[in-house]
Symmetry: C2
Subunit: 427 residues, 2 copies
């Protein structure tokens, strides 16, 4: 059936609503417990890193002479910095390995930019009464939480399959209270798109166009090496682009191994100019006596050797799940003009957009059949998706059987809600 | 020779100065590299925990059902909270295991008290234009750094062998801008003293005497289980004392395994009332996706079984070093009335106080012979020891031979500087 749902006569639609209601009722009776809400690695993915955590350590000294078991070395051992540089496509000199969470490093960077400034001079965001950051939407909820927690206002800019609209960004940064932008440049959360070379070049130049002299690009490269199709997307180097136009003191890059080894048991990376890194190191020295460098050693020794193989093994586990979600979307919704979706070549999410403003209803209905989805609006600041269309699908954690059932429920709910809406509109 | 140096005739003093100068000159020619500056575990101490880091993990699930490898569980796995409770003498319900650094938890608590308040109401330190904390001096430099970094002023109160002077504290907290106090209640850094039961009871009641309704006791129990003589000192429970007088919402306790397993590769603990813990958890959720719970599992599984034996093994390594330092102090300085020192039954430091205001000169002179000591004044806010007497000795890291040479240098410098001062004063 490939006729757009809007074009069906009402009696046919009523029949479909009855059929789909019956089907959903059956699902509701099955006491299902399904969850596509968070981008968590699956059990099988976690097992891939068993050899990292269980590898015996004979020599605790890193190549730079640090005893990884003792105090000291706030910026990370040489091997870990090399690993971060490999993941981010930067140099070890401009890459630090700190803690287990890139989110914590982003919070630290925003907090420091706000309260102290990143440049060892008088510039700081708190000099503005209403510092703001640009949020590309739909986007990553935890970026919004960082802004919320620090009292930073957010300015939304819609991101679509073509990536960020640079002209719009250039116009926004004419406001001197606009201090920064959040970017997930590769396999963007949740849309899965990767910025084009042109967009990277233009973004690198954005601080030059900004009225604020303390403008910062937060380059959250969470999925830098998370291809699931090969070849994966290629992301241009923002560090190189920034160097060319002299904005290296306004770009900070982040990554972690949370989705490479163990979520929250991995290591995190930050890369920027020497000036910014030194400011952050000074800030870190006020509350830290160093990261877990033993864990850095474990990670770096294994991953510097085996990163590609390791990520390929992840891809082998993830690819069938992404294919399965896309197959269900195509089979059950294709041609009906109920929704659009992305087909990312990597990352952790597929983004579904209903054509009518019914995302919240679809998510609510799915819940009645035991399927938990990312809450409606979660991909927008303040949880408010004004168009009410975006549904984020996170296929990684569920087992294949669960995923099939979950997709049956999801597409059923999307069809049912849309059909009912169409009927209502005709009355 | 047990005659106080002040009582020696000048000609004898001059002869001694020549003798000691010659001795020091020899040391200066030996190209020594000695360091008694930081309380770092020694190589042999770190080796004790090899079995923890190298223990194979078969089952990554904690007893509360958490997959330690994945996201989630901000407050720590059940086993780790039980370990924290065992170390702090609290209950697992009121004890969280978070991150690898108690210092980070202290910074977080102070920052949250300042910016948001700990009580889910309108109270917060930032409501005061000049929030202050009481610092017991000599004390731990990193507490001062936390205050400095947050713009919190410090009010010094001298702590001696009798512990904190509660009457003085009660008078200070009449000032509503005095918002908290830093305490290292057991084997205090650097004096090594442990608060008496009476002092603990009276401190627990301090928030009731405070004019500030948002007064907080920071109970940094860093050396809770770090006895080196047996029996060690007994510290009364401040949680119980606070419960009795209703101040449980004003006491926060901290500990870590940094000096139990691996410095900075361990796990950290915080214990307080439910109200405060929930506020902090909410705050943590803005920048963290959880601690390294695999490391928590490693630590807790081993230490819940073997904590006493493990700490006894540390004591066996530390006790000879402390004895050696004390022997040198007694043999080389005893009876000369050059300095006083503490004889702690645990912890990481021996605190030496020169009788004349010459600590800075002694430390400088020692440096010329290759001995690094904690910088003069480091045990005071802003690095200013107004009496210029305190020298912190950290004997843990050096090997026995190095420690002997270091103590020879230190006592030589103390004698030489003091003798010169006495001579100068007579001229």
């Amino acid at each position: 059936m490939k006729i757009p749902i809007q074009e069906l006569p009402t009696n046919q639609l009523n029949a479909l609503v009855r059929e789909w209601s019956d089907a959903l009722q059956k699902k509701q009776g099955q006491n299902l417990k399904l969850d596509l809400s968070r981008g968590k690695p699956s059990h099988a993915q976690l097992e891939l890193s068993h050899k990292i955590s269980n590898q015996p350590i004979e020599n605790y000294f890193s190549s730079d002479g640090t005893d990884t078991r003792n105090y000291g070395n706030l910026t990370g051992i040489a091997e870990a910095r090399a690993l971060g540089a490999k993941i981010l496509g930067t140099s070890p000199e401009t890459t630090y390995a700190i803690g287990n969470s890139s989110l914590s490093l982003m919070h630290l960077t925003a907090d420091t930019a706000l309260q102290h400034g990143l440049w060892n001079d008088s510039r700081k965001w708190a000099n503005s009464t209403t510092p703001k950051m640009i949020t590309l939407v739909p986007g990553y909820d935890r970026h919004f939480t960082v802004c919320d927690s620090l009292g930073i206002e957010m300015v939304n800019v819609k991101i679509d399959a073509q990536g960020p609209d640079i002209t719009k960004l250039e116009s926004l940064v004419e406001d001197p209270s606009v201090k920064g932008i959040w970017c997930v440049p590769k396999y963007s959360n949740p849309t899965g798109i990767t910025y084009s070379d042109k967009q990277v070049t233009e973004l690198a130049n954005l601080p030059n166009k900004a009225a604020a002299e303390d403008f910062v690009i937060f380059w959250d490269n969470a999925y830098a090496i998370h291809d699931i199709q090969f070849p994966g997307d290629e992301l241009a180097s923002i560090a190189e682009a920034a160097e060319l136009v002299g904005t290296q003191d306004h770009v900070v890059q982040f990554a972690s191994t949370s989705k490479v080894t163990f979520a929250s048991g991995g290591i995190a990376f930050i890369s920027s100019s020497q000036l910014i890194l030194e400011t952050l190191e000074k800030q870190i020295s006020t509350f830290s006596i160093g990261s877990d460098k033993v864990n850095q050693l474990r990670h770096a020794q294994y991953l510097l050797e085996n990163l590609d193989d390791h990520m390929n093994a992840h891809a082998e586990l993830l690819a069938p799940k992404f294919s399965l979600v896309l197959k269900y979307l195509e089979d059950d919704l294709g041609g009906l003009e109920i929704a659009n979706w992305t087909e990312p070549r990597g990352g952790y999410f597929i983004s579904l957009d209903t054509m009518m403003p019914v995302a919240d209803q679809v998510i609510e209905l799915a819940k009645t059949a035991g399927l938990v989805l990312t809450p409606a609006g979660a991909t927008y600041p303040a949880g408010t998706d004004e168009e009410n269309t975006n549904i984020r699908i996170a296929p990684s954690f569920a087992e294949e059987d669960e995923l099939k059932t979950a997709m049956e429920v999801l597409t059923l709910c999307a069809r049912l809600i849309t059909a009912r809406e169409v009927i209502n509109h005709r009355q």
